[in-house]
């Protein structure tokens, strides 16, 4: 079985009080460009607003009337959502602004313009169950580390990120655009998902999925190999199928002729 990652740009809508005028702004955008919201992934961002569930219901209803289908809600615990509501969503990362068709020249829509990049992972069942049960938690720690890293990325002008701490069980680092370097260990039950290569200066005891955006040349490096699962470009191997001689040794894993090649690093 293969599972691949694919990243989509989602439009993030952050509802603002009063909702009536917020909706009329939305209507102006739709009037100007009727196809703008069609077939685009749309996330509702209520982070920090502490929105009452009744208000959220109204907002979703209003969006539904405008044929805007929300795929997930960011910033709210899944346990607060009612049946039939879109699921809670975490782990987003801000990207550049989307070009919004301007309803009129002077009125900008700064909040509606922001959007996040989300990476969806096919074969969700293959990912750890914890990711599903506690999206808020994962999103939190992950967003925190990425926030910090994004600044570094901007400075360096490339797309690799550095995590200078241990990645603990239940945490998930998702970086579909490039390499991930971890200075510390990746614990059992943690996962690193990278578009490029993964470098771990410490023990790899969790999962490492490199090249998820379809990159064969991605590799995984670690100073102590004790992983639960490694994957490059969707091809994976679980710990039981590893070559025992490299256990707890420094190793690299690369993709060659549709197989994963494990090699010691010395």
């Amino acid at each position: 079985m293969k599972f691949k990652g694919k990243s989509f740009i989602a439009i993030v809508l952050a509802p603002e009080q009063p909702f009536d005028s917020w909706f009329s702004e939305l209507d102006r955008i739709i009037e100007r460009s009727p196809g703008f919201f069609i077939d685009r992934p749309i996330i509702l961002d209520v982070r920090g607003s502490n929105i009452p569930i009744e208000d959220l219901e109204r907002v979703l209803e209003g969006l539904g009337e405008r044929s805007i289908r929300v795929m997930g809600i960011d910033g709210i615990s899944g346990t607060r959502l009612k049946d039939g509501m879109p699921p809670s969503f975490g782990g987003g990362r801000l990207t550049a602004e989307v070009d919004v068709p301007e309803p009129d020249t002077q009125a900008g829509n700064p909040d509606k313009g922001t959007h996040k990049e989300i990476a969806t992972k096919n074969g969700k069942d293959a990912s750890s169950g914890e990711t599903d049960s506690a999206p808020e938690t994962n999103g939190h720690s992950f967003a925190k580390s990425l926030d910090e890293l994004e600044r570094e990325t901007a400075k360096q002008g490339d797309s690799s990120i550095v995590i200078s701490d241990h990645v603990r069980s239940g945490q998930s680092i998702l970086h579909p655009d490039g390499d991930v370097t971890v200075i510390g260990s990746v614990s059992s039950g943690a996962e690193i998902i990278a578009g490029g290569s993964i470098h771990i200066y410490g023990a790899l005891r969790g999962r490492a999925l490199a090249g998820v955006a379809g990159k064969d040349s991605a590799r995984i490096f670690c100073t102590k190999l004790d992983a639960e699962l490694v994957s490059i470009n969707g091809l994976y191997k679980v710990a039981d199928d590893f070559d025992g001689t490299l256990r707890n040794a420094p190793a690299q894993i690369r993709f060659e002729n549709e197989t994963l090649v494990f090699e010691g690093l010395n």
Binding site: E130, A134, T137, H140, S141, K144, D165, H166, R168, S169, G170, Q171, G184, S185, S187, S188, G189, A190, A203, R205
Partner: protein
């Protein structure tokens, strides 16, 4: 007016010895002369009152205080033996959803004014009760047994301590201490148990103490006394006393207290079968 250090005792997994540790550390600190309060956050499954032998004097509980139905002073239960040790019991008839974040914050900040140490006994799990118990802590004691599932759950909890606590959200880092409990020296020798070094290596948290598996712990809880008070010279009591000194900042090497065997025991060691 003192300003307490708030310590959360947490583990993720159940049955590893959080409540025993809370009671032992709290009473050891009280014996050193500090004003100490132990809070039971395990609403619905309270145990700390039993371990501390206070179950027959509980009137109000944490939920009453959080909901404003009783004052903290009404709810605090004074220890039988040490008059500077108090317990804030959990409610047995409610569940963890009865606790609110604002309420817990208010309780902790009021207790900070009365005590030198506030020790929070976290429930198992990573849900509301556990996250509320750790939320306002200044330091954490992570309790792990030397076996893989307990270690992994601790790792998860450490991740939460670095993400969901007040300190972490303010950009700080919570100081953490690792307490290994139910350590069996005989099994460690034969290798069918994780060694302390492995646990420390996996969790990367400094060790504060190793408590041996012992009948004294069970004996102490049956008589309703923290193990550090029931038999001060038992190996677990010694381990907790040493851990407490390290918590207070003393730099002493971690030793693993052993069960003293009688001469007979030594002579017949391993020959019983």
């Amino acid at each position: 007016m003192s300003n307490a250090t708030v310590v959360v005792v947490t583990s993720g997994k159940g049955g590893v010895g959080k409540t025993t540790t809370t009671a032992a550390i709290a009473s050891a600190l009280a014996k050193e002369g500090y004003q100490v309060c132990a809070i039971d956050f395990d609403v619905g499954l309270r145990n700390l009152d039993l371990i501390m032998g206070a179950e027959r004097r509980v009137v109000f509980d944490l939920v009453n205080v959080v909901r404003g139905e009783a004052s903290i002073k009404q709810a605090l239960v004074r220890d039988k033996k040490l008059n500077n040790l108090y317990l804030l019991p959990a409610s047995q008839t409610r569940d963890k959803d009865a606790l609110t974040e604002e309420g817990v914050e208010a309780v902790i900040s009021e207790l900070r004014g009365y005590f030198d140490w506030v020790i929070c006994d976290s429930p198992a799990g990573i849900e509301r009760g556990a996250t509320l118990a750790m939320r306002h802590a200044d330091e954490a004691i992570i309790v792990s047994n030397p076996e893989v599932s307990s270690v992994r759950d601790c790792d998860r909890i450490i991740g939460l301590l670095d993400a969901k606590t007040k300190i972490a959200e303010d950009g700080g880092r919570m100081p953490k201490h690792l307490m290994i409990t139910r350590y069996d020296t005989d099994r460690a020798k034969t290798g069918d148990m994780l060694a302390t070094d492995d646990v420390v290596d996996i969790l990367s948290v400094p060790l504060i103490g190793v408590v041996p598996e012992s009948k004294d712990v069970l004996k102490a809880s049956n008589v309703g006394l923290p193990v550090t008070l029931s038999d001060e010279n038992s190996p677990p009591a010694k381990a907790y006393q040493e851990a407490t000194r390290r918590l207070l900042g003393e730099n002493i090497p971690v030793t693993i207290p052993e069960e003293k065997k009688s001469l007979f025991g030594k002579l017949f060691k391993g020959r019983a079968a």
